[in-house]
């Protein structure tokens, strides 16, 4: 377990061996025999779950939560809770009005579930420090948060109603910057923007909406002296150059991308990259050997800026 190794890799530097990050998320609850919803609502259980997973998997870093509903909930979206999954967002306050017209306010430390996360981080952070494991802060990126706020119409508005889309995504970017500040305050050494739906749009749309509205959060992370990353999911081939140029120290991708392609792009742009042990095909379903899959990822990733992680 080695914090500095992970920070170096996230910043695109050469490391003696690749560091390892399990995005344990609600799997932390499974490992301590608790339902996901119960763990996520209880700071003591959340801290227990995260520290336990970090120890069990000998992690160099671990997210406090991997839950993209936190920011949406903190500005008024309602949630549906699941015993074996993260909560899902069920209401969209901007489905027919702008954030200003809907009366949405930027979150404070008292909004939504932030008090639970602050308390959990306070308990987990010293224990993770003792393990030399980074407490990672992951928050919802601007386009995914805009989707939570306005619903699926946002993907039509990007093209048909760009003024509205800009207003919603700008607000989402401001919320993200506040979330980044919260994680910096909690002591997270690595803070990542997680924008999975940003893989579902065209490159020029990414540049118009995602890139500018990620800047406020990136500034907050860098001004705090922390390390930044941009996590994206799915087949994001069409926006990968844009991800490399967004301004974070690095990025992480999932199992749908080819590691050689990703490695070459990351090296070209001198940024860190993480992935991509196959979450479904190997870890969940066992259709591929997780051991051999890991060897493929490690061989492709190499020793420059690479973090071994599930994809």
């Amino acid at each position: 377990m080695a914090k500095q190794l992970l920070i170096d890799a996230y910043r695109g530097k050469r490391t003696a061996s690749p560091p390892w990050v399990p995005y344990a998320g609600v799997h932390c609850a499974f490992l301590i025999n608790e339902p996901a919803d119960k763990m996520l609502k209880d700071p003591k259980l959340l801290a227990k779950g995260v520290v336990n997973a970090a120890k069990r998997y000998k992690a160099d870093g671990i997210p406090l939560v991997f839950d993209l509903s936190v920011e949406a909930n903190s500005v008024g979206c309602e949630l549906k809770w699941w015993g074996d999954n993260v909560p899902s967002v069920t209401t969209h306050p901007c489905s027919n009005k702008t954030p200003a017209d809907a009366g949405l306010k930027l979150p404070t430390k008292e909004s939504g579930r932030w008090p639970v996360l602050y308390e959990a981080a306070k308990i987990a952070k010293p224990q993770l420090d003792d393990l030399d494991c980074v407490l990672m802060g992951l928050f919802c990126g601007p386009l995914t948060l805009a989707s939570h706020l306005a619903g699926v119409r946002i993907f039509t508005d990007l093209y048909k109603n760009p003024d509205f889309a800009h207003e919603v995504i700008k607000f989402a970017g401001e919320v993200g910057a506040i979330a980044a500040g919260f994680y910096a305050e909690m002591g997270s050494e690595i803070i990542a923007i997680v924008d999975p739906v940003a893989s579902q749009i065209k490159s020029e749309t990414f540049q118009e909406f995602v890139t500018p509205n990620s800047q406020p959060a990136i500034k907050v992370i860098h001004d705090a002296g922390k390390t930044s990353s941009f996590f994206i999911c799915g087949d994001c081939t069409k926006v990968m150059e844009d991800v490399c140029k967004i301004g974070t120290h690095g990025f992480a991708i999932d199992e749908q991308l080819n590691m050689n392609f990703v490695r070459d792009l990351a090296r070209k742009h001198e940024v860190g990259f993480g992935g991509n042990l196959k979450l479904t095909l190997a870890l969940s379903l066992g259709l591929l050997s997780p051991r051999e899959d890991a060897i493929v990822s490690l061989a492709a990733g190499g020793h420059i800026g690479y973090t071994f992680a599930p994809g």
Partner: protein, 133 residues
């Protein structure tokens, strides 16, 4: 089903994966008139039925919206009008095609999304031993 347009959404898991979730919502938020004309199902590849459907439809990426077994939206969350046009192009008869086209300017409806997602089994079959149907 000859009197309905069949839509299969291939996902990782529409609860865990936001892109998958909004692919599902793009169908669940279609107007109620369109809901009457479509039959749709989430196929999460976290279970064997979903893997079977992914292979059967020759899926390539997740998430994907298949309309009448065609891979139509692969890793692109569709705009409303694009969905309407692709469904109209695959309608089983002229009357349904015209009825769908007439709703092209209607836009998404958000009041019955949760009910519609439940009907499509969204988020309900995410274990390896889950059965979709």
């Amino acid at each position: 089903m000859a009197d309905k347009i069949n839509i299969d959404v291939l996902t990782l898991d529409s609860v865990q994966c936001a892109a998958c979730g909004y692919m599902m919502e793009s169908i669940a938020a279609l107007p109620s008139d369109v809901q009457d004309m479509i039959e749709y199902t989430e196929w999460s590849i976290k279970n064997k039925d979903g893997i079977g459907k992914f292979l059967e439809l020759q899926g390539r990426v997740l998430p994907t919206i298949c309309i009448e077994r065609d891979l139509v939206f692969e890793s692109i969350i569709p705009q409303y009008e694009e969905l309407i046009d692709e469904m109209a192009a695959r309608a089983p008869n002229d009357a349904m095609r015209e009825r769908i086209k007439s709703l092209r300017d209607h836009g998404f409806e958000f009041d019955k999304i949760q009910e519609n997602l439940q009907r499509a089994g969204a988020g309900l079959a995410t274990r390896t031993d889950s059965k979709v149907k």
